[in-house]
Symmetry: C2
Subunit: 330 residues, 2 copies
């Protein structure tokens, strides 16, 4: 069973914190191919994961589309919320000159190229981006929130503009992921981190629809590249998500047992997850029990060992070693 | 089909904002029987709802247990996060003198008494409290957060203290709800607003278990009083929640269709919900469609029309009228 960890290049690692301190802002690090490559490789060197995920952020896409993006200590990302008119202007800007969007992301693509050269062949290099809905929640709402009320309100009040925004994000994201694949990514993951706040109809329209559009666009150019979809917080909709997006693999958060998840997806679908990241902050027994349940629940079926969300800054390195050893001991 | 709205006494109403401005702090309003009664009655006068829910807050319980609680503009509740030792001290304090806890909440009980006198007999008076898990997330984490990481970490690292805390909260909450019922509440609702961040095992242990303990305690004293349980964000676990807590009714948030929810609970169980509160900020067509789907999905089955969460400060009064009219038109 292959193993990697979401946010494996992160603040829980002292070597990450050291490189991060050299880089300037968080976005400076995302756009610095040398340092972004370095932090991506750090957890591979330390832990020998089977998968290496590009160090970047989902908000480089709205940034490349022309929206201001900052990361504030203790708050996270902060964007100036866009009006309907500003969204339309941004879409027109993208459509009239998509190469400008591409050029903005050149440093990220260079990071992928460097990674493919630096990584051993047997390590899977994963590219990624945010799903249109999740990216749009930040573009409209300006920051993270418990239930994305601002974006849900915008979608209800400006449905046409919002549909155009999601379509634009799907198109831009396909360009971006396609370049990551051409630069060496073996697989890509689409993060719909805020999909859990949508109604069933909204989930179909704003999460499933745009991701299906992306999968279709990617398949047309890179038929063999696996696509992982992760609708965090939407495990109540795992069946429709896996059936209707066209992805090859689905991420599972920790709110569902792997065995229960496997009963809702085809046997050929890969599942990925789903250890609670908080288990990396606690003692070994609870972690062992969760790892064993994950392995029992996916026995004989295609599964990638991972966390159910990114490892937190207070995650313990000893626990990460234990996670890997227990998975590898089978 | 009876109808009321979560947070129907709230900032979307000009008369609420006026009374709120007279009251001092938010907690001052909760502990002022005259003004709390007034704001509870305002939406009944304006809209003629079938249910009237006591104006209060779930955090009066930790406040009555001795924890400092403040409400900050633009942030929400802020509590000094408790250590394991502080939690044990607070539990000892409650067990050695539970009447002190009761006395702290006397003004809320007086509000219930005033309400029962002031309300027409045909209006159902609802009492409420937070579920032990949700209240504990604030006591340990100090404020709201997207995934309650602090409380989940605490529960893993201090499982015995955390179990004792939830048991203490269950016991204290039974005392509190029992007094609300004796003072005139016709039904009570237990809000587990943050149940959605728990693993299946955690959900059983921290959400279902303590609520079941509360239901048992309440039934022993008030056999005929209906109990509504609402595990917001945990619609993936609606079946186990409805089957194992012993509640008479379950709240539904807007992430599930009423028809799908009804297929997961017994026909005798009452469901309540589940209009997306954001629909109160948008145009009439989307609201009408959602109301119709709610009514179709519960046809012939016991259902209480409500929102899937509290109405937001930007909710439109016209939309509330439309919601009520459409439900009453059948």
């Amino acid at each position: 069973m292959p193993i990697w960890m979401m946010r494996q290049a992160g603040r829980y690692l002292p070597e990450y914190r050291k490189t991060r301190a050299q880089a300037g802002s968080f976005l400076d690090l995302c756009y610095n191919p040398e340092l972004a490559c370095e932090v991506t490789l750090q957890p591979i060197r330390r832990f020998g994961f089977d998968g290496s995920i590009l160090f970047s952020d989902i908000l480089v896409v709205p940034h490349a589309l022309g929206q201001d993006v900052r990361f504030e200590e203790g708050i996270g990302p902060v964007l100036p919320p866009l009006s309907a008119g500003e969204i339309d202007a941004l879409i027109v800007g993208f459509e009239s000159d998509p190469e400008r969007f591409d050029r903005h992301l050149d440093p990220v693509i260079e990071t992928v190229e460097r990674l493919r050269s630096a990584l051993p062949d047997e390590v899977t290099l994963l590219g990624f981006c945010g799903a249109p809905w999740t990216v749009a929640t930040y573009m409209v709402g300006g920051r993270g929130s418990p239930d994305q009320a601002a974006a849900r309100k915008f979608a209800l009040n400006e449905p046409d503009v919002f549909d155009r925004l999601l379509h634009c994000l799907a198109e831009a994201s396909v360009r971006y992921l396609s370049r990551q694949i051409s630069a060496g990514a073996d697989a890509v993951q689409i993060f719909d981190s805020w999909a859990g706040s949508l109604s069933p109809a909204g989930f179909q329209r704003y999460s499933v629809g745009p991701i299906a559009e992306m999968v279709e666009g990617l398949r047309a150019r890179h038929a063999g590249t696996p696509i992982i979809g992760f609708a965090k917080g939407a495990m109540h909709a795992l069946g429709p998500f896996s059936a209707k997006t066209g992805v090859n693999a689905v991420g599972l958060d920790w709110t569902i047992d792997v065995a229960a998840a496997r009963s809702q997806v085809p046997d050929t679908m890969v599942t990925q997850g789903n250890i609670d990241p908080q288990l990396m902050t606690a003692g070994p027994d609870a972690l062992d029990a969760a790892v064993d349940a994950m392995m029992r629940g996916s026995e004989g079926l295609p599964h990638v060992a991972n966390l159910g969300h990114g490892i937190t800054p207070d995650g313990q390195i000893d626990q990460v070693h234990r996670f890997i050893e227990r998975v590898r001991a089978g």
